[in-house]
């Protein structure tokens, strides 16, 4: 085997790329994993992991200079001194916003698996059927039953903390003990149950923070709530803590950082990919690597970008564009709407430790006979806590009174934010801008995505229902809010190379194969046919493991 030839190439090293590498190498394939950014070695390169606020020159805050360098990132919380450098450089890798789009990219080994929210839920059976029933976009080519065994498989390996609830809207999985609710949350859960007769549920979040040690790398969550700094305890699922060590252990994995895949090489006679061409991000040299199969896991937008730049001599719009759907049907989860309230009493109760997750309220709208003037639904994520030193103390003036008052915990408050399903809409799309180029001379993406009527109607309920639940639970000073949402802020980009049943209306088939190149598999958010309202990463994991299993079978049968 020549040094540039492998059985499989995996493009990207994030959540789904890591899974592809693990599964394919464990099945005996020689795999090359390509990462466009720098390497990050587990523990060693988590240089801020043990820093405290006082160890940072600006105590962790974003400076004006950082905002100048990262104008898009500066619009929300991810820009700060602690994770600076973990997000893609906007000067080197620009994009165009026809409509505002906040694109949070992590160009580095592990991708956003180091920077994710870790909330891990299964889609439910209805999620896979809703498009078909409602005549929206296209029907998923798979059903819950197709993915269910693979959810089992990835949950057992990834380690998800949570509780089994027996709810049809949020299928149970394999869980480690949950991250505890605190005294207030437990009582609010009971009051919600009483007030809504069991039609609404206030449960433990399900999170890829492990509450039991797994091995010497994955010691378990230490309740520091510093996940985004990289966890030296392997306390949550990331490529570095979980899939990469397994893939490396096989001896079958080669990892090449600083490798920007510019196109998938395509043999139009055989209708197969033959490998990829890359640019070395440091030297600007180009290289070719060959393989029997290619897994595209570059994150939803960059996976679509790669297809758009491949086989352009056959299809002007690139590999997968024959459907007319490549780059279309962009989805995210719309949020930043919900309610907060004060909780009276519980002055004799406090908590120890810092949780990386709180409570969850599964979808209840358009479910179980409920019918709204919009389709689909939303879930809530939230937590209760006591105010820290930042409390409204305007009346306390200055000096020792002020110091004493703000050194003690304040009253309990509770808040929750809704995450709503966004419908796939053909006009929500990304496309190449041939004029503007990035640092490496590659075309950049233009974003043209909006939320529409269904989402706007849903947002009213997302606020109103949160207020209603808190009021029904007897909480005080209940305040609804909607602080506006711009697409991308959910950091859940999906749909740009959707799965379907027909090559005329979808980019991928039911096994995540590109219809026009069956040895190319896309198993990240790009593949999603609809969004559900639950956090999507667990589904990418399951989908990737399923596709890898199928790919190796097909290889053995000589079908690829």
């Amino acid at each position: 085997m020549a040094s540039n030839t492998y059985d499989a190439i995996v493009v990207g090293s994030g959540i789904s790329g890591g899974w592809a590498a693990k599964e394919l190498t464990e099945k005996g394939l020689k795999v090359l994993m390509l990462e466009r950014g720098q390497n990050i070695e587990h523990v060693k390169d988590y240089i801020n992991a043990h820093k405290e606020s006082w160890d940072y020159p600006h105590r962790g805050l974003a400076t004006q200079d950082m905002k100048e360098t990262y104008p898009a990132l500066s619009r929300d919380y991810p820009l700060n001194e602690m994770t600076l450098g973990m997000w893609a450089n906007e000067q080197e890798s620009p994009y165009i916003e026809k409509e505002r789009f906040d694109w949070y990219r992590a160009y580095q080994m592990g991708g956003r698996s180091l920077l994710w929210g870790r909330q891990s839920y299964r889609l439910n059976p209805e999620d896979f059927m809703a498009n078909g029933k409602e005549g929206i976009a296209v029907d998923w080519p798979i059903r819950y039953e197709d993915l269910s065994p693979w959810y089992d498989y990835v949950e057992k390996y990834a380690g998800i903390s949570g509780t089994r609830e027996g709810l049809s809207v949020l299928p149970d999985g394999h869980f480690m003990p949950p991250i505890p609710l605190n005294a207030v949350e437990k009582d609010v859960a009971a009051r919600v149950k009483k007030a809504f007769g069991g039609s609404r549920h206030f449960i433990h979040s399900r999170s890829a923070n492990i509450t039991q040690g797994i091995n010497d790398i994955r010691v378990g969550c230490q309740f520091r709530n510093k996940c985004w700094l990289g966890c030296p305890f392997g306390g949550y699922f990331s490529t570095q803590s979980s899939t990469l060590p397994a893939a490396m252990a096989t001896g079958n994995l080669t990892v090449r950082p600083f490798s920007i895949v510019k196109e998938i090489k395509y043999d139009k006679d055989k209708k197969r990919a033959t490998g990829v061409e890359i640019i070395d991000a440091e030297t600007n040299e180009t290289y070719e690597f060959n393989s029997k199969i290619v897994f595209v896991n570059a994150s939803a937008f960059n996976s679509a970008w790669l297809l758009m730049n491949s086989a352009t001599d056959v299809w002007e719009g690139g590999l997968g564009s024959s459907s007319g759907e490549l780059g279309h049907n962009v989805m995210d989860h719309h949020f930043r709407v919900g309610a907060s309230a004060s909780v009276e009493g519980y002055e004799d109760s406090y908590y120890f430790g810092r949780r990386p997750a709180g409570f969850y309220v599964p979808r209840f709208r358009n479910w179980d006979g409920d019918k709204r003037d919009y389709v689909r639904g939303f879930g809530y994520q939230g937590s209760a806590s006591r105010a820290g030193w930042r409390k409204d103390i305007a009346e306390l003036g200055l000096g020792s009174n002020l110091k004493d008052a703000i050194s003690e915990p304040g009253d309990w408050t509770i808040g929750m934010t809704a995450f709503g399903e966004m419908l796939p809409h053909h006009d929500n799309r990304i496309f190449l801008d041939k004029n503007k180029k990035d640092k490496w001379g590659l075309p950049v993406l233009t974003m043209d995505v909006k939320i529409r009527e269904n989402e706007y109607k849903m947002r009213k309920d997302m606020q109103k229902d949160a207020v209603e639940m808190f009021e029904a639970a007897g909480l005080k000073n209940v305040q609804g809010y909607d602080v506006d949402y711009a697409p991308g802020m959910g950091i859940h980009e999906m749909g740009t190379a959707r799965m379907g049943r027909d090559p005329k209306s979808s980019v991928l088939n039911k096994h995540n194969q590109v219809w026009d190149a069956p040895n190319v598999f896309v198993t990240d958010g790009a593949a999603m046919t609809s969004a559900s309202c639950v956090n999507p990463s667990l589904t990418y994991m399951a989908m990737t493991a399923r596709a890898a299993d199928f790919a190796v079978d097909e290889l053995k049968k000589g079908n690829l």
């Binding site: 720098q38 974003a62 905002k67 450098g85």
Partner: protein, 205 residues
């Protein structure tokens, strides 16, 4: 893994993390020298004096113990929007003049009671001023990095609100403030309900 093994692991992990060498992804920013802030040692001493009135040493350390002044200089230089920088700097001049006018002395030479009297008056004026400007919420409790370079219509609060904001943020994010005045446990290892009795300190984060 038992607790002892965990402690060993923590020690090892901590060592490795600090020995890291070349900063790869997360940027390891250097400490900002005072000469880069445009403020002098005298300015820092003055900030510490202001800070000590707002957060005095009691049975626990105060603003001077935490050297809030050095932190304030860096925050104003690097994190403050130009509009806030201007308001803050002009405010310092105004404050010093007011001390001279009302007490016939440099602020630093005022008695503790006089300092408290002056700053308390400013605190009241700041509240009224902010309300008139339509600035709601407690500015003093917000992060000292509002606005981005391209924001041209940022409305600055009263300068004393900025002073108070810088002192509180610098103090409670300092090691002294977080660990000696508030409570902080670096590696809690668990999350659980605990009883609370009046007087127990809040967690730093």
């Amino acid at each position: 893994m038992n607790r002892r093994d965990l402690l060993k692991f923590i020690t090892a992990a901590t060592g490795v993390a600090f020995v890291g060498g070349k900063a790869l992804a997360y940027e390891n920013l250097p400490v900002v020298p005072l000469s880069d802030t445009g403020f002098s040692k005298e300015d820092v001493a003055f900030f510490n004096e202001l800070g000590e009135v707002i957060i005095p040493r009691t049975d626990t350390p105060g603003a001077k113990d935490a050297d809030v002044g050095s932190c304030m200089a860096v925050l104003v230089a690097d994190c403050y929007h130009p509009t806030m920088q201007k308001t803050f700097k002009e405010g310092l001049v105004t404050l010093k003049k007011r001390a001279e006018k009302e007490y016939g002395k440099d602020f630093l030479l005022l008695s503790a009671e006089q300092k408290m009297e002056l700053l308390s008056a400013l605190d009241e004026e700041a509240k009224a001023y902010n309300a008139k400007k339509g600035i709601y919420g407690d500015v003093a409790m917000s992060n000292p990095n509002a606005g981005a370079p391209w924001d041209e219509e940022l409305v600055a609060p009263h300068y004393f609100s900025l002073i108070k904001q810088l002192v509180l943020f610098s103090f409670f994010t300092s090691q002294v403030g977080a660990t000696k005045v508030l409570r902080y446990v670096a590696i809690p290892t668990k999350y659980e309900d605990i009883p609370y009795k009046k007087g127990d300190r809040a967690w730093a984060t």
